[in-house]
Amino acid sequence: MAFAKQISGEGALKRRVVKNRLFAGSVIFFSMLTISPILLIVYKLVAKGYRQINIDFFTKKAPDTYEAMVAVGAGEVIPGGILNGIAGTLYMVFIASLIAIPVGLLIGIFLYDQQSKRYAGVVRDVVDILQGVPSIVLGLIAYFWVVKNITNGFSALAGSTALAIMMMPLIIRSTEETLKMIPETIIEAGFALGVPYHKIILRVLIPSGFSGLLTGILLAISRIIGETAPLMLTALGSMQVNFQIDKPTSAIPLLIWEFYNDPNMVDLIWSSSLLLMMMVLLLNLLSRQIIARRS
């Protein structure tokens, strides 16, 4: 204290303390402000949705509007669940992953490998543009490619195609970034043992970056799992649990949209949204866990 007084005087020091507190206070305030939406969202979804969350919710398909109307009129919980949506979402995300993961990983490896090449730059730009294409446009494209020409009708395959196109740029860039982070010394170690280049990629690079690649894939899934617009034009939706690739298929976000349009089903919006939100949250937490364990 004496020393501080000597160089700057008591008043200056006090001013600094006040400034410091003011700054710290505002940082805390705005941090709270930023996280408050997520807290409010979760609160709202739980408060409005918990009544509908029961075993039936996961094991029965969506009720028709008459059943719902009767239940609502009697002040009861709406019967049935959203199994058709859960199954459809899992099914279509699975098919989309089957398409997007191999292609995404391969292009990501290609971009890493050819970093400074001109055509790799072009591919990288195209991937970035693809990432910026509005999802409804991708839905439209999948409609013309798949619905019109392959499955001759709305289908799970069409929905998965649209979702896969959305996933690809995310996986490509995360793959490239992950591989770039692996120290070159590891690659040289393999090279100094006479290991051929393709084996270094397959057996050194990919295992070393495995958790990063997995994280990228999980985040890509969490990004597309709630997509609605492209599915409206491709998978359309269905009241049945469908695992046929060429038939219309439901999905959780599609059901939320349908419930929104039916005054009798409003209660189901909240529980469905809660489930979707939880799935995304879980994927994000899982990928965070993987990142944490890696470092």
């Binding site: 590891i186 290991v195 051929p196």
Partner: protein, 260 residues
């Protein structure tokens, strides 16, 4: 220069007129010729950027990894032109250890030692595997420290242990020559001492070529020394002679600390 090179009788490695350039205008190594004597430690010294690492990496053709690097000249290993050998064969005979320890992070200590076999798809009997692992780890004096944790990841070891593991990985192929690129620059003094003692031991069975910019280290452990400056091999001879009575004034200035 030339009579000094002739002193090296029956060399394991013979470098003839080797030049390496990273781009067309500037060469990093210019017309270096030298023989490397069997079962000796040869140190390559010189200030930063003098081309010593570039020269070392030319010996096992690490430059093949980078298409923009141009290498001219010949290197013979036991009389055989290394340019005619497959990179796999060449690197089985010439092992390399790097500046920073670089064990494979996804592999156990055991697998790291035999990584050369594993990654090249060379199948071994289980007993052979264990023998190679034990022998290599004993050679680098690491066996007693890690024999109970062979299944642990190599990256759990301390920096000095990791570097010895990397040397063991190079030894597992029973190479003729081991190249080391400033192997102790990332290690603490105690670990450095261990690695230096190890290299003195290893020269009984192997020929060692080591890049260092630590003159004291070269003086401590090498039998022969090269001094490089601006890509040229300025002076090459017995370490003792060079440190006591350098021939070239640039060598003398470097050794006396006039520049570094």
């Amino acid at each position: 220069m030339s009579e000094l090179i002739k002193q090296i009788s029956d060399p394991v490695l013979e470098i003839r007129d080797l030049s390496v350039s990273y781009n067309k205008d500037k060469s990093a190594v210019t017309a270096v010729s030298a023989g490397i004597k069997k079962n000796r430690v040869t140190a390559i010294m010189g200030p930063s950027g003098c081309g010593k690492s570039t020269l070392l990496r030319a010996i096992n053709r690490m430059h093949d990894l980078y298409p923009n690097v141009e290498t001219v000249g010949d290197i013979f290993l036991n009389g055989e032109d290394t340019a005619d050998m497959s990179t796999m064969m060449l690197r089985r005979k010439i092992g390399m250890v790097f500046q920073r320890p670089n064990p494979f992070p996804t592999m156990s200590i055991h697998d790291n030692v035999i990584a050369g076999y594993k990654l090249n798809g060379i199948r071994l009997q289980k007993s052979d595997k264990n023998d190679i692992v034990e022998k290599s780890l004993r050679d680098v004096a690491l066996w007693d420290e890690v024999k109970d944790s062979l299944i642990k990841k190599g990256t759990f070891l301390s920096g000095g242990q990791q570097q010895r593991l990397c040397i063991a990985r190079a030894l597992a192929f029973k190479p003729d020559v081991i190249l080391l690129d400033e192997p102790t620059s990332a290690l603490d003094p105690v670990a450095t001492k261990k690695v230096e003692e190890l290299l003195m031991q290893l020269k009984k069975d192997y020929t060692i070529v080591m890049v260092t910019h630590n003159m004291a280290q070269a003086a401590r452990i090498s039998d022969f020394s090269m001094f490089m400056y601006l890509g040229e091999l300025i002076e090459y001879g017995k370490t003792k002679d060079m440190f006591i009575k350098p021939i070239d004034t640039r060598t003398e200035e470097y050794l006396t600390g006039k520049f570094s």
